[in-house]
Symmetry: C2
Subunit: 337 residues, 2 copies
């Protein structure tokens, strides 16, 4: 029953990619993978059809829109595109770090933002918005080396659960996004994250959660310095922002890291963050595909929109495909074991 | 005669990589590739042995030093490491751009640095060093979009020849470096460039010259802005430096782009530019290999050293492998057709 393959199972996923890879160099093994629906959690409809038509189009060697493998670049936002962004998980991680810092230095417990983190004062952080998070980020991250920070993130994910759904965070990734990532890779695409999230935070989870390695993750970063510590050269964060990877900067950083306009970009409405990279992709010479998620599924996830609807308006003006979570995704999350 | 395979032939190279890839998923096809010497232009000696021992070591699945494929990151400097750096090719390209600009706007012909470019006044640029090049870069590059700049570089390489050797620049790449790149890739390494050269300049030649795609090139860059031009979103350079990718910044930018300490780094002595990334690689937990080229071959290339010998001294102190061009490379350039 090939139709029942769950693309979320990492071993099966690896196998399907390996089989697809071998096709390229071992003719005659054929029909197997092509008969299965690679996007079982996508409802039949215009968006799913557009994706599949596009992938066939750019991979058909004699076709007018054929794109060589080196140019099959697919870029995904993270928060709200690959996993749920309510509440903001990186924010919860920062609160976790603040609590840890206060535990080892009790004098901090009465100071903000430590106090708010200890008291789980969500309002404090939500009222302050990014500003308080920035302050918190600077206070907690500049003292950690690259490797120490990575270990902290991994430990957070190993021990924490999503506050609304009460599941490990890996269960809050979108199953349709996982299927799309696997489908694109099996068709020779390289898959990247380009997100406002902290690059080191995302890199500590992107391989386990999405199969995306560290070098294919682009995010917000602080400047670092190379220092000798106990005879070993380490990189330490400074408090100076290197890049806030949002809006137009997403296009700028895609160029800096990848050096090509993406063939496919998927983002989401909610914070206007992805308009820049969707438009930049569309400016590509030759074919390109833009996808943007409308968070309209209060029953299964969350429903939210922008004040001025800027992202969805841009989508309509420019012919980007709007993914209705409610209608286009038959499942939101991976099946629970 | 497998020993006579030239790894420079792109088709043969592709075939050998394809064969190596298929081994991974098609057991029992075995012995073929392993019997050929993957590094025929490297003289038998300590350095060649160290490279081969290291690669076997980190790819032997039951071994103590096994490194999974996702962590097999190899980083190469460009100028003086992958191709000859005398004279500085990017500098010649900038002079070419200056001449073009003056040709389309004759009022510039009497101004510096245009005048020096027109008169081929090498002394002007060499005396000014990086400073004059920086001025020239700013004057010429900020008016070009990403795509226009790319086209300019490609046209330069299609029509220009190396001033000393009188060959197309592609003939000034180092054959032993090409063999090492192919050998590493066949063993599951991802190969990157991390160089002081301009990132957009290198990206326009790295695929043709080295088989390294744009997303695996890290270099010096200027800040860019997303602008709408004739209804299309394009990235344009500003005159503000984003990063000068040299010395410690090479380690910083490896972290920014790759997010891991490299398993292998190869650089060269001459400008002290690679000490930072060699040391950063060596700080990796587990095995790592550092290689640094000593340009000591006046007969076949150039002989030059640093005033204070900082790079080679650091190599001796830290146990990095020094590649003597004279003794360790039996050929320097690809065979001429």
């Amino acid at each position: 029953m090939l139709r029942s393959i769950s693309y979320f199972n990492p071993l099966r996923l690896l196998l399907s990619v390996a089989v697809a890879t071998c096709f390229l160099i071992t003719p005659g093994v054929g029909a197997l993978a092509q008969s299965a629906d690679p996007l079982p959690s996508w409802a039949d409809g215009k968006v799913k059809q557009a994706i599949q038509r596009f992938v066939v189009d750019v991979t058909t060697e004699d076709g007018a829109n054929y794109v060589p493998r080196a140019k099959r670049i697919a870029v995904f936002d993270n928060d709200g595109t690959l996993w749920s962004e309510r509440p903001w998980v990186q924010g919860l991680f920062i609160e976790h770090l603040l609590r840890k810092a206060a535990a080892s230095n009790p004098a901090l417990a009465d100071e903000q933002p430590y106090k708010a983190a200890i008291e789980n004062d969500r309002e404090f952080f939500e009222k302050g918005g990014m500003r308080d998070y920035q302050v918190a980020i600077r206070r907690t991250m500049t003292e950690l080396s690259r490797e120490d920070f990575d270990a902290e993130v991994r430990s957070f994910f190993a021990t924490s659960r999503h506050p609304t759904f009460n599941v490990p965070y890996q269960q809050t990734v979108y199953q349709p996004a996982l299927e799309l990532l696997a489908y694109l890779r099996a068709n020779g695409f390289k898959t990247y994250i380009c997100s406002g999230g902290g690059v080191d935070f995302m890199r500590a989870m992107s391989s386990d959660f999405y199969g995306i390695e560290t070098d294919q993750v682009i995010g917000t970063s602080y400047k670092k310095e190379l220092r000798e510590v106990d005879g070993k050269w380490v990189l330490e964060s400074t408090a100076e922002l290197n890049t806030f990877n949002n809006r137009d900067q997403k296009a700028v950083n895609i160029d800096l890291h990848i050096g090509q306009r993406p063939l496919l970009v998927m983002g989401n409405a909610g914070g206007k963050g992805d308009i820049g990279m969707l438009g930049y992709s569309q400016g590509r010479d030759g074919p390109s595909l833009q996808l943007i998620i409308d968070h309209n599924d209060e029953a299964r996830e969350f429903a939210y929109a922008e004040d001025d609807n800027a992202s969805l308006n841009a989508a309509k003006e420019n012919g980007w495909h709007i993914i209705s979570m409610k209608d286009d995704w038959s499942a939101i999350y991976p099946p629970r074991d």
